[in-house]
């Protein structure tokens, strides 16, 4: 089952510079495990130690944000395209306050 995964610039050091790689899995969680076997460390940039998707990473299956598809449980099919984009976010809000609000997951 081949799934195309589009890798953003900031994570291409894990993929040897490749903009897109192929992986497989029945769900996003499976896919990320499969990718981590080939591109060690990639999964850790997307998934928190508690096992949830990082708040400031956007992951899409085809045209949908996976947050609306069950996050890591999102189902995948052959031929799907998964796109990873770093969220573009910030602001004048103090770091300590933001960290508290976001559960120290910055």
């Amino acid at each position: 089952m081949a799934i195309e995964v589009r890798i953003p610039t900031i994570l291409r050091n894990f993929t040897g510079g490749a903009k897109a790689v192929e992986g497989s899995g029945e769900s996003l969680a499976d896919l990320l495990s499969d990718l981590d076997a080939k591109y060690s460390g990639l999964r850790g940039r997307l998934v928190t130690p508690e096992g949830g998707l990082h708040r400031f990473v956007n992951v899409y299956v085809n045209d949908e944000d996976v947050r609306f598809l069950g996050a890591l449980d999102a189902k995948l099919s052959d031929g799907d395209t998964v796109t990873i984009l770093p969220a573009v976010a910030g602001g004048a809000f103090g770091f300590a306050a933001a960290a508290a609000m976001l559960g120290n997951r910055l």
């Binding site: 953003p8 610039t9 900031i10 400031f56 956007n58 899409y60 045209d63 944000d65 947050r67 796109t83 984009l85 770093p86 969220a87 573009v88 976010a89 910030g90 602001g91 004048a92 809000f93 103090g94 770091f95 933001a98 910055l106």
Partner: protein
């Protein structure tokens, strides 16, 4: 050094003033590898907050795909601070995810003062860079340079025309 057209700077500042007191955010796209910010895309601040901004995830996907299709990249990523200086906050620094982009900040804290500064943010390190504003629509030789670390509190745009 960020070299940017006066018309684009005006569009960024107009967007920031329009959304004040909420933070405004957007992208200036340019041909990949050119370092030329040419196409202004005002983005929605999904947070609608005076102290925080975040691109709407679906709008971001659409805009990033469009840039890919046009062989462009986000040359500038900008946002406004509405009560503080145009300098990256610790939140800005820890969330910066585009190492190739110029991070442009504008402040709208003073209604009559233009405050625009540019930074590189890579691996948590901030480096300010000069902003060179080129008035291409009036005269390609008319150039206003804001030097490193300066806030342009008074600028005479008439000087070189």
């Amino acid at each position: 050094m960020l070299t940017i057209d006066r018309a684009i700077v005006d569009a960024i500042i107009a967007h920031a003033r329009r959304d004040h007191p909420d933070e405004a955010c957007g992208v200036i796209a340019g041909p990949a590898g050119s370092d030329q910010p040419l196409r202004h895309i005002a983005m929605e601040n999904a947070e609608r907050s005076p102290t925080f901004y975040r691109f709407d995830s679906m709008e971001q996907l659409r805009v990033w795909r469009e840039m890919d299709d046009r062989d462009e990249e986000p040359v500038v990523i900008y946002h406004s601070h509405t009560a503080t200086e145009a300098y990256p906050s610790r939140t800005d620094i820890s969330l910066a995810g585009e190492p190739g982009a110029h991070y442009v900040l504008v402040s709208t804290r003073e209604p009559d003062v233009e405050e625009i500064r540019s930074f590189r943010i890579v691996d948590g390190a901030v480096t300010e860079e000069p902003v060179r504003i080129v008035d291409a629509t009036v005269d390609p030789h008319a150039v206003q340079t804001y030097m490193f670390g300066q806030s342009p509190t008074t600028v005479d745009y008439e000087c070189s025309r």
